[in-house]
Amino acid sequence: MTNMYDFPSIDERPAIGVRQDGSPYRVLVVDDSMFVTKQISQILTSEGFEIVGTAADGQEGVERYKELYPKVDVVTMDITMPQMDGVTALEQIMEFDKNARVVMISALGKQDLVKKSLLIGAKNYIVKPLDRKKVLERILMTLEH
């Protein structure tokens, strides 16, 4: 630690979203709100993550996941979406790939759905409004597991 203070460097902290071998973690963002999709994308790309796909509803999300598989490391999944909600989509993704890493994005007040998702196999959850630090932390936690 002391070393770092002695020799400050702009490269002191490697980007979070990059593996040790330099390849980025690949993320699929499923959210019906353009705004949130963009927000998550910005937060993640700024840390070196690669957004490999986005989807505007659960159905599309499941399809995109199946297309991308196995070239996707983590999925962020909104809970309330038209067509197919996030919990159902999560179910289908888990059914397709039981090792899938899915992080639920939820508004406050959806505790029961978050619990349900965790039981189904979601690795973690993030509460809206999104906080940059939280998003990164939770997604990293998911990847470390």
Binding site: S106, M141, H145
Partner: protein
């Protein structure tokens, strides 16, 4: 309750009822095994497991009365298992009574109501039994197991629902974990590694602080088997924040890994991992709290975990929560199951089928696919042949045309004096081809036709096998109903003070599900009858030199496409003379009438006949055997009695394997086709109208020495047809001694008939049992002979009335 474990969930409920039925059956049969063989460890384990599973399942579907009551039973069984309480006849009675209550509760629930009878007497009997009240009757039988003996006191108070006092407080004391639960924890731990208790404090500032309990649960799930949580899992699922939650887990992983898994930044404030000793009865919890940890790191003080510390845990925040978390595992399983079955919509009754049978079917289906391909090929080659035929026809026409055009030329040449012989030779050589023009075509046609025949043949074979295969799916072993009899016989023999043994043979014999369901009542009647009338009291048996213990045998076997079920006893046999005098007394037969023994035995099936001098609670009211006969006949079956004095009596029930496919005789009436079930057809005749006589306004005709009354199907079903013909056909149908001739226009033939049930609004049509779709796609109605016999009688009476009216 969240909608997640919705108690109204139809599918879950149906599964529950199916499973509960199995558990209750297993309970009952194993308790009976235990009564005779108290040392049978397998039976003890099984009975305990069944009660436990039932209790948990009941709790899952929120049938509290059932789970609480079953819990009492389970407690008692636990005492039996550990050898504290020995098994006696009284205890078995209590247990069986309890099982009856459980059955009634399940039954009530399946009807949508809650069992409300007073069970407090039985409950306290169970409790006192568990506390060793029966000890006097039989001492614990397994002293070598006394090391496992658990204190009796903790069992008290288990019935009281919410807010029950903490039970199972062991010597050193872990609150809210009964020694039973620890026992279970240890059971699991034996197979899955070490037992730990994780005490997790949650951060209340987390915006979704109520999710934490579940989040830690799922985080642990990957590394350990969460056996129990406190507050229980259901409570965690509620939208309530619990500052502290304890997770009881079994795992191969080390404490530090567990701690790391459970520690979630923002969500948890601290995680304490405690090791639970898996040996000895001290049940001490070892371990030490890990220091509260910051957002970042892993558990940093592993050595602390090894410090010995006896923890008496105090959680004021959750003290109102009933311990019940051992259902967690079950819940989780149920949860998995609902997930898997959510997409699978099941309707109607559930049938368990051996997977091999499905595989066989799949095999056959693949054969049909191959068969279909060969038909495709055939249709192709038929098409080719059609065009080939057209080609040949064209050639033929062309040649013929040329021949006719050439005729004048030949005639002219003949007139000019050319020799006929030469002309004929020339003519022949030019047009000879016409003879053999179609030969190659014929050859190809022959080939294709023989291929076609082959394919049709294999289609026939495959569809036959497919039919048999599908029918086999509906087949279930008769053991499903035979298994109810040990209990029945035991209860009856106790209430009748008779000593008897039930022997069951051929319980693997299979028959159609629909038949099995309708067979139970008649069989129960027969067995009761055998127990009550067929068997003497032990004293009588001793005096006649028989072993005191009587034997009743239930035997099932196959005979062609019929199933034979025999109920035999080794009692004194039927007293023929007494049957005879009784029958005369009741006016069933004339005193001077000569009857064979078997005729007399069959009188037993007459309504109102009972030779028992006293009416017992079991039988002797003279209703029973006639009901048996009627029910069996409804299944197209037959009942026979055979008896030999001093040796015993045998009731033989004969029923067809299945009701869905029958052998039928197709007949024609006017333009309609009807099917008469072959089992009911006795014979058929072709007679002249003159042979039809009128007797007492009935149309009748003579068959050898018998007079058979006739029924014209065209009149019965209002089918227009010509009645004045040179010949009519009469199909004589009947069951037992009732016979009747059905007049039809012609007989078509005998075939396998698949019965299609008719929609409700047609089933009222008298004399019709169902419908069948014939090979050409038309519908043929199937005649219900039994109904027709009754109907014919009425019809005759009406007709008689009409004739009288006309005369007057």
């Amino acid at each position: 309750m969240s909608d997640y474990f919705d108690p109204q969930n139809e599918e879950l409920l149906r599964d529950f009822f199916t499973e509960a039925g199995v558990q209750v059956e297993s309970l009952e049969s194993n308790i009976l095994v235990l009564e005779n063989d108290p040392q049978n460890q397998d039976a003890i384990d099984e009975v305990f497991r069944a009660a436990h599973t039932l209790k948990s399942a009941a709790a899952t579907v929120q049938m509290t009365e059932l789970s609480e009551f079953t819990h009492l039973v389970e407690d008692l069984l636990d005492r039996i298992r550990s050898g504290v309480v020995g098994i006696s006849a009284e205890l078995t009675d209590t247990l069986l009574q309890a099982i009856d209550v459980i059955k009634a509760m399940i039954h009530a629930r399946s009807a949508g109501i809650v069992y409300e009878h007073d069970i407090s007497a039985l409950s306290s009997a169970l409790q006192s039994a568990a506390e060793g009240a029966f000890l006097g009757s039989q001492a614990p039988k397994t002293p070598q197991e006394s090391g496992k003996t658990v204190p009796v006191s903790p069992a008290s108070g288990t019935l009281s629902p919410q807010g029950a006092p903490a039970k199972g407080v062991t010597s050193i004391g872990v609150k809210r974990v009964s020694e039973y639960e620890l026992l279970e924890l240890r059971d699991v731990a034996e197979s899955e590694g070490q037992l730990f208790c994780l005490r997790v404090e949650f951060n209340e500032d987390n915006p979704m602080n109520t999710v934490g309990g579940i989040q830690v649960y799922t985080a642990l799930r990957g590394r350990a088997d969460v056996i129990k949580t406190d507050p229980e899992f259901d409570a965690l699922y509620q939208d309530v924040f619990y500052p502290v939650v304890e997770y009881y887990v079994a795992t191969q992983a080390g404490p530090e890994q567990l701690g790391a898994a459970a520690a979630i930044s923002d969500v948890t404030d601290s995680v304490t991992v405690l090791r639970i000793e898996s040996s000895g009865t001290e049940d001490a919890l070892r371990g030490a709290p890990a220091p509260p940890r910051p957002d970042t790191g892993a558990v940093d003080d592993e050595e602390a975990l090894e410090e010995l510390e006896v923890v008496a845990q105090e959680d004021e925040g959750v003290s109102g929560v009933e311990p019940g978390g051992r259902q967690t595992r079950k819940l989780r399983n149920a949860h998995k199951r609902t997930q898997a079955e959510k997409r699978k919509k099941v309707s109607g009754s559930v049938l368990r089928v051996d997977s091999r049978r499905i595989d066989d079917l799949l095999n056959l289906v693949s054969e049909t696919v191959i068969n279909k391909a060969s038909f495709n090929q055939l249709s192709g080659s038929f098409g080719e042949m059609l065009s080939a035929l057209q080609g040949f026809q064209h050639q033929q026409r062309e040649t013929l045309r040329r021949m006719f055009e050439a005729l004048p030329e030949y005639l002219q040449r003949a007139r000019q004096g050319e020799s006929t012989h030469d002309l004929r030779r020339e003519f022949q050589s030019t047009y000879e081809r016409l003879y053999s023009l179609f030969d190659p075509f014929q050859y190809r046609l022959k080939n294709t036709v023989s291929k076609y025949h082959n394919s049709v043949q294999s289609l026939g074979r495959i569809s036959g096998e497919l039919q048999a295969g599908v029918m086999r799916i509906r087949m279930i072993p008769i053991a499903q109903i035979f298994s109810r009899f040990p209990r029945l016989v035991r209860d009856l023999s106790r209430s009748l003070n008779k000593n008897m043994r039930l022997k069951i043979e051929g319980e693997d014999t299979e028959l159609d599900k629909s038949v099995v369901e309708d067979l139970l009542d008649p069989l129960i009647h027969c067995v009761r009858n055998a127990l009550d009338h067929g068997i003497e009291t032990p004293e009588q048996r001793r005096s006649s030199g028989k072993p005191e213990e009587a034997t009743v045998t239930l035997r099932a076997s196959n005979e062609g496409n019929m199933i034979l079920i025999e109920v035999s006893d080794d009692g004194p046999g039927i007293d023929v003379a007494s049957v005879r005098s009784k029958a005369i007394e009741r006016g069933l037969i004339h005193p001077s009438r000569a009857l064979t023994d078997s005729d007399l035995f069959n009188l037993l099936f007459d309504p109102g006949f009972s030779t028992a001098t006293t009416v017992t609670s079991v039988s002797g009211r003279g209703v029973g055997l006639d009901v048996v006969k009627r029910q069996i006949e409804k299944l197209n079956g037959d009942v026979l009695v055979w008896s030999k004095k001093g040796v015993g009596t045998t009731f033989t029930i004969k029923i067809p394997l299945t009701l869905a496919i029958i052998q039928g005789l197709s007949v024609r009436v006017g333009k309609e086709t009807y099917v008469i079930p072959m089992a009911a057809v006795i014979e058929s005749h072709r007679i002249k109208p003159a042979e039809i006589k009128t007797l007492d306004n009935y149309e009748v005709f003579n068959v050898r020495e018998d007079v058979v009354s006739l029924l014209r199907l065209n009149r019965l079903f209002n089918v227009p047809t010509e009645e004045q013909k040179d010949h009519v056909y009469v199909v004589v149908v009947g069951s037992g001694d009732k016979k009747m001739g059905l007049i039809v226009d012609s007989l078509i033939g005998e075939e396998d008939i698949v019965i299609k049930p008719l929609p409700d609004h047609y089933t009222n049509a008298p004399g019709i049992a169902g419908a069948n779709i014939t090979g050409d796609g038309t519908v043929a109605l199937i005649i219900d002979v039994a109904q027709l016999l009754v109907l014919g009688l009425r019809q005759g009476i009406e007709q008689r009335g009409n004739v009288k009216g006309r005369i007057a």
